[in-house]
């Protein structure tokens, strides 16, 4: 790949040298030459984007309108989708993942950022520890959490046993499993929110706080009247990226709930998300057409969020 790049680059250089000498003779061609150069730089990436992004997108759309048995256009997949209980379960679960994880990871992130801003010592230490889960492999830490949640050998049941709380089934209980997955997601991503909030807090000019102090505002008031409104862009950014990420939840669910005997999303589909359902349909049941229809629904969700983002972001920048 890199070799192709360098050889392309070399030929590029040669292409450039020849017209360079002709420059004085034909200044008219200057603009065309610059355009040629630009397009020769963009050629490989453009082909890449067309082949690896645009064409597959169109292909996924068109495939969702076909079935394995019938050739040609059909909306059969979408018709089945409407009556598919597991699909609706996955949509509802995905909404739950978004509603539970996004506000909580942002709230924890903000509290941690504010707390770390207030202390003078060990800042780097706190920042490092809280950020650690974010950079470690999701698969590895999901398995660590799975061991912690294990009803018979896990740490959590031993721990709550100390307080006399009866042992829970955690990931194997359909009522609790989704919240366990959420806990792992929040644990892993709150460090990221913290980091972004810390950067946001540092961006607030100090004289705002000084002015508030002179006016005699208490801490509570300073937070709600100054800090919070000025963090608005940060909050919007974290909310949008958080929602898009939660909509795509897959790795945690796959590693927390799949085993040799049961596929991901269990028990009783209580943790299945849109992406997990799509993955299972495509690569375990090999119904690529139906899975494409599921993927198109996910795409529409993300598109909706992106459109909201554009609206909200434009508004934020106005003041």
């Amino acid at each position: 790949m890199t070799q192709a790049q360098t050889s392309a680059a070399q030929s590029q250089q040669m292409d450039n040298k020849t017209p360079m000498k002709l420059k004085e003779k034909r200044p008219m061609k200057m603009k065309t030459r610059r355009t040629m150069t630009a397009y020769s730089f963009l050629l490989v990436p453009l082909i890449f984007f067309i082949c690896i992004r645009f064409f597959p997108t169109l292909y996924a759309f068109s495939m969702s309108f076909t079935t394995q048995n019938v050739n040609g256009f059909t909306i059969e997949n979408y018709r089945i989708l409407l009556r598919d209980g597991v699909f609706w379960k996955s949509v509802w679960n995905t909404c739950k993942y978004v509603i539970i994880t996004v506000p909580l990871q942002m709230a924890f992130g903000l509290i941690l950022a504010l707390a770390i801003e207030r202390v003078r010592h060990f800042r780097w230490f706190y920042r490092m520890i809280y950020f650690l889960p974010y950079i470690t492999s999701t698969v590895a830490v999901s398995w660590v959490w799975r061991l912690m949640f294990d009803p018979s050998v896990g740490f959590l049941n031993q721990f709550i046993g100390l307080f006399g709380i009866p042992a829970q089934n955690w990931l194997t209980d359909p009522k609790e499993a989704l919240y366990c997955v959420c806990a792992v997601m929040i644990w892993q991503s709150m460090g990221f929110s913290m980091l972004i909030f810390m950067a946001g807090l540092q961006g607030i000019p100090k004289h705002f706080y000084e002015a508030a102090k002179i006016d005699g505002a208490n801490r509570w008031k300073v937070f709600w009247k100054i800090t919070f409104p000025l963090l608005n862009p940060t909050i919007v950014f974290l909310a949008i990226t958080g929602v898009i990420q939660a909509l795509q939840t897959f790795t945690q669910i796959q590693n927390l709930t799949a085993s040799s005997g049961a596929s991901a999303g269990g028990p009783l589909n209580s943790t299945v998300s849109i992406v997990v359902y799509m993955y299972k349909t495509a690569f375990q049941e090999f119904n690529m057409q139906y899975a494409s229809a599921v993927a198109v629904v996910l795409f529409l969700f993300i598109l909706l969020v992106t459109l909201v983002q554009m609206k909200v972001l434009n508004k934020t920048y106005e003041y």
Binding site: Q12, R34, T37, P45, T136, S137, L147, D150, Q248
Partner: protein, 275 residues
Amino acid sequence: MKRKTSIGNLVIHLFLLVGVIVVAFPFIWMIVSSVKSLPDFYRFSFWPEKVNLSAYKYVFQETDYLRWYLNSIIVGAVVTISCLIFNSLVGYTLAKHKFPGAKMIFILILSTLMIPTEMLVIPWYLLGVKVNLIDTYLGIMFPGLIEAFGIFLMRQYMLSIPDDLLEAARIDGMSEFRIWWRIAIPQVKPALSALGIVTFLGNWNAYLWPVIAVTTDQMRTLPVGISLYATGDSGGIQWNTIMAMSTLAVIPMIIVFLIFQRKIVEGITLTGMKG
């Protein structure tokens, strides 16, 4: 007055320390569990009866763990280098060259950010099967070789390079390619290193596409290897082996993070904020 603030400070420290224990505990539990023997798990004590390294021995001797590690390093390194070269080249061209169609190309590239990977994996898989890319390094790598977000980031930084600098190089007779490589690239080094860190981390942890693109044991990347080993074992879950695998995957990352903490945090904040 002064006393009050120091007590307040103490309370915050206490709060943060409790949080540190909650956040760091799974890592400690992971390491402790990796040196337990299987019966130790049913003794319900925190510490193992005695340190038992058999899980590590098993990982190195009976599984392809080192190969998975190597695969992850190869994939991460190649994709990162490719992204740095192509993203900065495209970003530079879009920022500093005026040509018909520039704006349209930029919008086209940006619009791909809206397409979720999840929607593309099925066409990629079918393509991969057709051109024999399944179970090859290129098969794992190809979707990430050029990346729209990176292009956007590089374009933003390239815009701040003064045009006079580039024009001066042009008058000196430097080729356009050399101007990009010698003049533009050094100007955006911080953004490049940030992009490199984020790209490598993303690929190191990538799961959805690698788990689809690989069918043989040998070609698995580290996350895929751990995941499929752990779910594939029908004879009961070997917790100590899985924890040894996780420890070996996580600890080097933590060490690298400790060494390059400032750069990594800067990189993630930078790219995060620009998103």
